[in-house]
Point group: C2
Chain length 307, copies 2
């Protein structure tokens, strides 16, 4: 058996008889009627999206989680994904760690790996996820309405603080590292928001930029309060020292949801909060004036740029 | 406008109001009832799959064409694709060439670009194509039956000869370069073979290995004749000099279809041949003995390996 066959083995989690399994020119999949497909692709590159010393397990987790987060932002139910994996060398230990965590996260979110490609080169992982959402009900960036209340889930800035510390040679605390390496995609929250939220986005590029996408797509504005942004104890301590609000506003890598909810649905949101045990914080309101006003901020932050 | 927004512009071919357009966390797509999805992913890396001096136009063409070839092998109709593009730098001219050829090939095969990701790093292109095929009718590797006649489309080995010459510092002739840089994915042929062929595969890793996949999946064998393999004039001349049959048998990169047809359907194949103007050559027959016998070959070829 050559190395290429071996690599296939690591990712061939389904039986040979499963028609959706890796092994034909394409994977075949059936989708229920009255569902739309939601599909998204993200690439993680060593040195750009994670430091070279990152464990294979953490890389696998994050590569799938950031893609699941895109499904969460649409309120979609994960269905299947493909994996394009570029590896510098054949490393059995690395592949075992990588594939085992990928499988366990995939199982947790009930998403199947249906196809892939392995190539030789600098470490890079491209995952394309596909989910389903009832026709016409997906949460869109373009659906925010004037008067909607703006919420975000959990806390912001933790992953960005971890990344900043790593770059400075400081070992981040475990809670910060967890947010950086193994963020929870908010799949359940996204599904629960169908019919409750108007617009929704995941905060991968930073709140300022991502909320900006909602405002641009919806042709509205927003007014948010700096003091309402939910922060972890670590972030509160960091801000006390530095007053660097750009980290939670523009650091990116949060994979939380930012969404707008009409007043009439706020009570349903309280039920979701209790049911899922997720922290949901009101940070502002959608306005008519097509601008993002951040009360309490005296500067502009440079959001994450891909180049 | 920053460079990231600019890159998005190059690939935002649809209007802002098109729900399937790039711009939300996921693209949303509707699929007709009674269709299955067929999905496949392929990565091309500079220096591995194409030489560094390859024109952006040729890279774009091949990156999409090799993926369309996987849809062809299933008899699927192209629907949409995603693009994960890793670029070493922002180069307006390169992006214009790349996106323009990508769009023109996509238009030709009526497939929409619905999502993407751009990252910074060594040049690499990952495309994930999705097509549809009537439920239960896809051409599978596992469907070959003893007695089926084996065919291949057009000629084999041309792209491999071009690649060999490039590596030796020789400029390939235009017809060879065309097969290497801009192979025609056999989409129409694949669709026409639905209900006519039993098993089908695209010859991307070389006839010996890819036919081997059909035999393995179908638990059958095959007997083919070296002298029946369809060759271009350039290959005939090359073989006269070298007797290196490994090039057409295992060179790979052919993107032709190899398929098995029951005797009863051969006459329908003749009609397809006339209608599409495609060269279809009988090269052998499916046998019970689970081996691949190549009459006329006195050695084993080393097929393309990804590592």
């Amino acid at each position: 058996m050559n190395e290429f066959d071996l690599i296939e083995q690591y990712f061939n989690w389904q039986g040979d008889d499963d028609k959706s399994a890796i092994g034909d020119d394409c994977a075949l999949l059936s989708i229920e009627a009255n569902q739309q497909l939601a599909t998204s692709v993200d690439t993680l590159i060593e040195g750009v999206h994670f430091p070279p010393e990152t464990a294979a397990a953490d890389i696998a987790y994050k590569a799938l989680a950031v893609n699941l987060s895109d499904l969460a932002a649409m309120g979609a139910t994960p269905q299947y994904f493909t994996l394009a994996l570029t590896l510098p060398e054949f490393n059995r230990h690395w592949l075992e760690q990588f594939s085992s965590v990928l499988k366990s996260l995939a199982d947790e979110y009930r998403i199947n790996l249906v196809g892939g490609d392995t190539t030789k080169g600098k470490l890079s992982i491209t995952i394309n996820v596909t989910g389903t959402v009832p026709k016409g009900r997906a949460l869109l960036r373009s659906a925010a309405k004037v008067g909607d209340v703006i919420f975000v889930s959990n806390t912001l800035g933790d992953a960005a603080l971890a990344w900043q510390q790593i770059q400075q040679g400081i070992n981040p605390s475990q809670p910060l590292l967890t947010q950086f390496n193994t963020p929870n995609p908010q799949i359940q929250l996204g599904q629960a928001l169908l019919g409750v939220a108007n617009a929704c986005i995941d905060i991968s590029d930073g709140l300022e930029q991502d909320l900006g996408h909602i405002l641009h797509a919806s042709k509205v504005g927003a007014s948010i309060n700096l003091s309402d942004i939910p922060l972890s104890q670590a972030l509160i301590a960091y801000l006390k020292k530095t007053n660097d609000w750009c980290l939670p506003l523009a650091g990116g890598d949060d994979y939380q949801l930012c969404f707008s909810v009409p007043e009439a649905c706020i009570s349903r949101l309280q039920a979701i909060k209790r049911q899922l045990g997720v922290r949901l914080t009101k940070i502002g309101i959608i306005t008519q004036n097509q601008q993002l006003k951040i009360a309490g901020l005296d500067k502009t932050c440079q959001s994450y740029r891909h180049f």
